[in-house]
């Protein structure tokens, strides 16, 4: 209840948007997610309270993008930073969605929400004001890469929402960067709608600082013949949850996901994915990697749902995990729920440590244990990093991961 009171007292009732009112109403009946539900049972309660503990903040301090934009062709947007865009070029256009369309779309989404499963979205939309919502409608071809930033400010709880409509036959490379500040909480909800024949290479890179927290939720609806490729990386958060919900609304769509979370110290980072096939000939190839060190806890829960209508679905899900310390722990739960009979579905999960034979081989060649471990880890990371689109070299992700303190 505390969080609802906090939102309510934060602003006068008059200023509340229609969406906020709907979400607050929904949250009244479930002020906190059910800790016994599958989606939340492994969540660390005290860390989750830390997330909610900060005061709600709508105003962003000045934000310096960590890396200068060396390439003129990249479009950079910061959510909440009075972000306005209206680009109409010869081959493409990127337009801001009108408030009316945005509200209508979000209301439609909310009507399908499950109180528990979409709790993070409800919180995000209850917290968020129009200023921190970015809605884009993208069409055309030869679109330059796009980078979108969300950030939290110290000692506060910030909420950012991103809605993207990708029109027919359009394809883009999009990198979304979520940056956590020292002692902060960021709630990020993203809604993606891919129309027919569209394709997106979506990268999500989230990294924090000391004691930063993140609730990151991603909702994707794919129409037929669309292709959605997601590469994600989450690290350096005291507490982070990445929820991915993808719905292939008419089937005949392709989804590729390569994600990774890396935990150290006493961090807890979790990834929840739900892939819903609502039509035939759907395709999914998913790999999720976790790496847990020190006293940290990494969690992966992935479900693949194949109803009767989704014949000829081809789905595979793999969870690969490395446990590097005696005090760390890893939970993984890949699940299949299948009714259609003419499908190919499989999943796999492994938990182990670094390969001793490979380490031994490298050491016999004069490479130190530390170096050999780094080499092994870099190949482990590289598979994911290479899948993240847009200027990944500039972000030095591999270096950040290997030399993180």
């Amino acid at each position: 209840m505390k969080i609802i009171e906090k939102i309510k007292t934060n602003k006068s009732i008059d200023n509340q948007t229609e969406i906020q009112k709907i979400c607050l109403d929904k949250l009244q009946s479930s002020p906190l997610p059910n800790p016994k539900s599958e989606q939340w049972r492994l969540s660390n309660n005290s860390k989750f309270s830390d997330f909610l503990d900060y005061s709600v903040n709508e105003i962003d301090p000045k934000f310096d993008i960590p890396f200068p934009n060396s390439s003129q062709s990249t479009i950079r947007l910061v959510i909440g930073d009075n972000c306005q865009i209206n680009l109409i070029e010869k081959n493409y256009s990127i337009k801001q969605i009108s408030e009316h369309t945005l509200v209508k779309y979000i209301k439609e989404q909310i009507s399908c929400f499950d109180q528990n499963e979409n709790w993070s979205d409800l919180l995000n939309l209850a917290l968020n004001c129009t200023k921190n919502t970015l809605g884009l409608k993208i069409s055309g071809s030869e679109i330059p890469p796009i980078e979108i930033f969300s950030h939290a400010s110290s000692n506060s709880l910030n909420a950012k929402t991103l809605v993207i409509f990708l029109e027919k036959n359009c394809d883009i490379d999009l990198l979304q960067v979520n940056l956590g500040k020292d002692n902060s909480s960021l709630s990020q909800s993203t809604f993606f709608c891919l129309e027919e024949n569209s394709s997106v290479n979506h990268g999500v890179v989230s990294y924090g600082e000391n004691k930063s927290n993140l609730l990151n939720s991603l909702n994707v609806i794919q129409q037929k013949n669309s292709e959605y490729n997601l590469g994600s990386l989450h690290f350096k958060f005291n507490y982070a949850r990445f929820e991915i919900r993808i719905k292939q609304s008419e089937g005949n769509a392709k989804t590729n996901i390569k994600g990774m979370q890396k935990t150290k110290k006493d961090e807890q980072i979790s990834t929840y994915t739900k892939i819903d096939f609502h039509g035939p000939n759907g395709f999914l190839d998913q790999i999720n990697k976790s790496l847990a060190d020190d006293k940290s806890h990494a969690i992966f829960e992935g479900s693949i749902i194949v109803p009767k209508i989704a014949q000829k679905t081809d789905a595979s899900q793999l969870s690969r995990n490395l446990l590097l310390s005696n005090l760390a722990q890893i939970d993984t739960k890949p699940q299949l729920e299948i009714i259609a009979d003419d499908v190919k579905c499989k999943h796999g999960a492994t938990i182990s440590q670094l390969n001793e034979e490979e380490l031994f081989y490298m050491r016999t060649r004069g490479i130190t244990l530390t170096e050999a471990s780094k080499l092994q880890l870099s190949s482990y990371f590289q598979e994911i990093i290479s899948f993240i689109p847009v200027s990944k070299d500039r972000w030095d992700l591999l270096d950040k991961l290997l030399n993180e303190n």
Partner: protein, 480 residues
């Protein structure tokens, strides 16, 4: 192209064991309260510690809530509408099988259970449980020569009270779960096996459970203790008549293996599954758990689940001893409106422990077949290893196959591997077999049998034949 209807027809097979034995039975009134528990305990002439165990469990059960996490759709069970004790009337003491009611012998004969002398040649010792009580146990003298104790749990309470007091409820505590608590409060009979140090049980031991009354639940309890360096293979089978009401079967099985001991526990479960519309059938809510207490001990569960309206069963292994081994091999076939939520738990506590899980699920009709398993590596399970494989086969587009593996590791120096796949009967393979002159029905049966081969190979000889026959029977029928 496979004709879907023809595959469906193949999996239709009427239940063969649905007859009711017309025998005079002694039943107590329906309902459950402390007095009923005292009455059961009194009828069995039990010592005080056991009555206290029951009453304590009952108190715990009253405070517990029926679990709903498996999402099994069934109507609320009225626990006051169940008879908790039902036994066929017979002479007080039976000194030989000749004194057993011929009707009972005939019943087990019809079920193919070798109780009578001429059938003893099969070299399997049988404990036959009819409703709430054990009717007869064969080969007792021969087993006694080796020091093996094989009797009903009621007899064990009288003759081996020290062992019962020491081990009962140590693997599955009374408060473990809702149905285990209910069983601990009202259990009526079951089997008890004790294999002394260094003894390899000279024959397979077997229990056969038969529910005869439609309104009584069956709550049996099995306890198997394998002392140091001993080994035993135990088989369990079950059937029930066809009633249009649901009957509750809530059993508890506890296995204890000490240093270098090995227990192999095999089940062929063929309770009545209800009719095509899902009316009637047994609710099979069972708690089975083994404790590998000793070093290098081994517990192996193999099961063939073909019956029951709803199965809720997770035979588990607690791997405490160093280098102990847990195994789980399962075939679950569901048809019509059956629901099976089955799997295992492998809890690795000791170092260098190993576990293997092989689960095969076949879903046909409108059934739901789920694998739900937990593999957990504790902080001390250094050098431990697990391998799991779960395959599902779907027949028809109304059946559902789910896989829910929970994997948790807190030990970096351990390895867990899990893989699962879902497939249907391959049209290419069917076509190939048919083009070689093999009938469609036989081809389907061969493919299902091949799909389950990994598990059947683990079953004891007697059971492997029965299981193969059972699946073939379920798959036998008219080809449309």
């Amino acid at each position: 192209m496979v004709n879907e209807n023809s595959v469906k027809d193949v999996v239709k097979e009427p239940y063969k064991y649905g007859f009711v034995t017309d025998i005079e039975t002694e039943k107590i009134a329906k309902g459950l309260n402390e007095d009923v528990i005292r009455l059961i305990s009194q009828k069995k002439d039990e010592p005080k510690y056991l009555l206290d165990f029951r009453l304590k469990a009952f108190k715990k059960w009253q405070k517990m809530k029926e679990p709903d996490w498996a999402g099994l759709g069934y109507e609320q069970i009225d626990y006051q509408d169940i008879i908790y004790y039902s036994a066929p009337k017979q002479k007080e003491k039976i000194s030989s099988l000749d004194e057993v009611d011929p009707k009972l012998l005939e019943t087990f004969d019809k079920l193919g259970i070798p109780l009578t002398e001429q059938k003893k040649l099969t070299n399997v010792a049988v404990d036959a449980v009819f409703d709430s009580v054990s009717i007869a146990t064969t080969f007792r003298e021969e087993l006694a020569e080796h020091g093996v104790i094989f009797c009903s749990i009621s007899e064990a309470v009288k003759n081996h009270s020290d062992l019962i007091e020491k081990y009962l409820g140590t693997v599955v505590p009374a408060s473990d779960n809702y149905f285990a608590a209910l069983n601990s409060a009202v259990f009526s009979d079951g089997s008890f096996v004790y294999i002394p140090k260094g003894v390899t049980c000279p024959m397979d031991l077997s229990s056969y459970f038969r529910i005869n009354s439609g309104d009584s639940g069956q709550f049996e309890r099995t306890l198997i203790i394998a002392e140091e360096s001993s080994s035993v293979s135990y088989l369990e089978g079950c059937t029930a008549p066809m009633f249009d009401t649901n009957t509750l079967h809530a059993a508890v099985v506890e296995l204890i293996a000490l240093d270098d001991a090995s227990i192999k526990y095999s089940t062929v479960q063929n309770w009545y599954a209800g009719d095509e519309e899902g009316i009637g059938g047994i609710f099979n809510f069972v708690t089975k758990r083994g404790k590998c207490l000793g070093k290098r001990s081994k517990i192996s569960w193999s099961q063939v689940e073909t019956g029951s309206a709803i199965t809720w069963k997770y035979p588990s292994c607690l791997l405490l001893g160093e280098e102990s081994v847990g195994e789980f091999y399962s075939v679950a076939l569901t048809n019509n409106r059956q629901q099976a939520d089955t799997g295992t738990k492998m809890i690795h506590i000791g170092p260098k422990t190993k576990s293997t899980i092989v689960s095969k699920g076949i879903s046909a009709g409108n059934s739901i077949n789920s694998y739900r398993g937990l593999v957990r590596m504790g902080t001390k399970a250094k050098g431990s290893r697990n391998y799991s494989q779960c395959d599902s086969m779907l027949i028809g587009d109304q059946a559902s196959a789910n896989t829910f593996p929970y994997i948790k590791s807190q030990q970096p120096n351990s390895e867990i591997e899990h893989e699962a796949s879902t497939c249907r009967i391959s049209e290419d393979q069917l076509f190939y077999l048919q083009s070689r002159g093999i009938e469609f029905e036989e081809a389907v049966s061969m493919m299902v049998s091949g799909f389950c081969r990994d598990v059947f190979n683990q079953l004891p000889m007697e059971f492997a034949a029965e299981a193969d026959k059972l699946l073939a029977l379920k798959l036998e029928g008219s080809v449309g």
